[in-house]
Symmetry: C2
Subunit: 455 residues, 2 copies
């Protein structure tokens, strides 16, 4: 019996996963553990001042294979999940490729991205522990928006430190967060010691993600009833994001399909780690040895393809423990012309380990090529992709064009993490031909990598 | 057997309607016909210089009950349809109402609104007739975006006259349209006679929807291979938008549900007319005599509740034929503090006739109350509604609160036409308390109604 493959397949509500999948439980070798700058192992209790207890546990738990999703989180997942698995028929036809192209679309919620999957989980656990509020930082604003939606839903306070240059340039992102009752503060600010000291030395400082993290962490650890939350890189975030991969896996099973290639954009790794989780299990356990998993990163922030696999700080301010990961050095910043997210200096330790051990590939792409793919996709598939997501589209189109050359009818699955409604400045630059590319020089990377901690 | 009602019900792709439903075929009395300012009946051929032939036919065809949706349009409907029928469980719970609240959500496509349903149809027919391009006007930008997406898909040129004040204030709307290769021109412009004459008299003229329509129509009728298209008010638009109601009807049948009240926001009537079509058929034919149909309009532009049922021009420039409709006078403009769309001076002739004959009710609501509803809905249902759509939310919440008083467990269905990503200026005003209300005085309306054509 042949199955008719629809343009968009929505699993029924009853098939929203009941557990997240913890890929660490199936990895043959574990990622190297988080340590202090002195080289001491980080224990669960060490994380309690920063994360609420259940999340601290999830961060370090490499053994529990399936973690039950609390009923309260499943209830709100039902408002926007399952997300659709889409077949890009129009794109396939336009490319003239024999490949079948699927994408899992995570942008159909107000936050506009997959970030909501983990934001809701982190907000729920904080509320469940009886906390009063959480703090976070945001740059482009996708994470801040998802978190504001989540804290509003569960009835928590939220303070967002938003990089000042972004705060001034993106008033609409701020307005969305405020609609969800978040308190949004331009960073550096006079509300923290770190902010005041920076402003004292440089009153016109326009901020950075590193400084915003430092402010958010300072407030969390010094305010009764508050903790700090983060939208990527962490093991707990990849755990929550496994809901993307589990749904995609189940949907493909219904269609009697299995991908030859799974492709995701890579910044800190939250989407990529979530999407690939159940497919990577098959690869690790030998069920799908031929499967290729491809990370697509910006050439302007190439942590996988040009970074070093080493212990590094997770933040620019060097307040966090050290993680073993592919890193460009905690002081690395992508050049000013870089649009959208995917600007983190490091990479999820789980994904870093998989890449190091040969389970994954990575490619770096330039942003004008990314926006070409974004525009082609928007015109054919009626979704305006976020710049981040368009990296995966670029990767998928390139693989599909290779299939056209070789005549292979491969099955490609990529993650479409979100929509680009708040990234129109970048689209406008692309449309009028003023968008530029930038690749850091070897000397740039040597300089930022020279600062790695000695452990 | 009891049916579990999911938060979101998606019909399978195979159940996308194969025909649009033409409500006129079941109306006991027809809307008064379109006429010239001299009182002559408009014939199909009279419309050919402006609309392509199939659309001119649809505009005047009150007899064909079901109009087959061409395969090419159904193919692209599949990329974003069926849209979900959602149960607002969280909203019901927060209100403490015994009512069941459903909404049909049309915002899950790049254009962000239901406008795409008719834009695709109009673009297809233009392409199918061998035309080179179409022209239109846009104010807030929702229609221009949907049309740009559609012309890009079918390979037509598009010229959008965008009201100059909006062009300058909403560069992101312009950028979206340009991403879909539309040519966006600030109106008044030096590209038309009407534009040049206005600029000669007043070089700083900031434009109006009326002027933009005049420019778009002038270019369409004077350029080989071009026609003009419009996103609301017209009979053809209501026909295309019936896809909303047909899907909602089919989805409710699956859930063994039937609405007691159907609610939609009302500007020109495109969404409302589409949503209610199959339910109104039941009311007209006596199958659902108790059904209430409620239009919710802005108190600042109250065509149903305070307008006059009379023949009037469809545009401010008085270039179009006359339609019999509820109108505030073709020179009426809502006050400057009015946010979003729903600013048209008239109303769909079909809906006007139904309202006049007692098949529908209408209420007018003030915008701060609308944004209160929008914010409450966003926090509970994880969709940030467009200001237009939030009028329907306000209406639904008010009905649900009445059910709370009376203890009646009514079933409410409303149309959620789109998302508010490009309306954050208005949300920011609401958030910071600077949003104001405005209700035109009787003298204001007398003045704008004094100008009605004498026929």
């Amino acid at each position: 019996m042949s199955i008719t493959i629809p343009h968009r397949l929505y699993l029924p509500e009853a098939e929203i996963p009941t557990s997240w999948y913890n890929l660490r439980a199936d990895m043959k070798e574990q990622p190297d553990p988080m340590i202090t700058p002195n080289g001491d192992l980080i224990k669960e209790e060490d994380l309690y001042p920063v994360f609420c207890k259940k999340l601290a546990h999830q961060e370090l738990d490499s053994e529990t294979r399936f973690v039950e999703i609390p009923e309260e989180i499943r209830e709100v997942y039902k408002v926007y999940r399952p997300s659709p698995l889409c077949r890009a028929y129009n794109l396939e036809k336009a490319l003239g490729t024999p490949a079948k192209i699927y994408y899992k679309f995570e942008g159909n919620n107000t936050s506009g991205s997959h970030k909501l999957n983990s934001a809701l989980a982190q907000a729920f656990y904080a509320k469940d522990e009886g906390l009063k509020g959480v703090t976070t930082e945001t740059g482009a604003g996708q994470w801040g928006t998802a978190l504001a939606e989540s804290t509003s839903y569960f009835g928590l306070d939220l303070i967002v430190y938003m990089v000042k240059v972004s705060y001034n340039q993106k008033p609409f992102r701020k307005a969305v967060m405020e609609t969800f009752d978040a308190k949004v503060i331009a960073s550096p600010s006079d509300t923290t010691n770190v902010g005041r000291s920076i402003l004292a030395a440089d009153p016109d400082n326009s901020g950075s993600l590193g400084v915003a993290i430092s402010e958010a962490v300072e407030v969390a650890v010094t305010t009764e009833g508050y903790r700090y939350v983060l939208g990527s890189v962490l093991n707990q975030v990849l755990l929550h994001q496994s809901v993307i991969g589990l749904e995609a896996y189940a949907a493909m099973e219904k269609l009697d399909e299995y991908p030859d290639i799974v492709i995701g954009c890579a910044g800190g790794g939250s989407n990529l780690g979530g999407l690939i989780a159940p497919f990577m299990r098959d690869k690790i356990t030998g069920k799908a040895t031929g499967l290729r998993v491809v990370a697509v990163e910006p050439a302007s922030c190439p942590s996988f393809t040009r970074g070093k696999y080493a212990y590094d700080f997770c933040d620019t301010g060097k307040m966090t423990p050290l993680a073993k990961m592919y890193t460009l050095g905690s002081g690395f910043k992508p050049s000013a012309n870089h649009a959208g997210g995917l600007r983190y200096h490091g990479m999820s330790p789980i994904l870093s380990k998989l890449y190091h051990d040969g389970y994954m590939e990575a490619v770096a792409v330039e942003q004008t090529a990314v926006f070409e793919a974004a525009k082609q996709f928007a015109q054919l598939e009626t979704i305006l992709p976020a710049p981040e997501s368009a990296h995966a589209i670029r990767g998928a189109i390139d693989e599909a064009l290779r299939c056209k050359e070789t005549g292979e009818a491969k099955t490609i699955l990529f993650g479409l993490t979100g929509t680009g409604y708040f990234d129109m400045t970048a689209y406008a630059q692309f449309n009028d031909g003023t968008m530029t590319d930038y690749i850091p020089t070897d000397a740039d990377l040597e300089a930022s990598l020279a600062d790695l901690p000695q452990v």
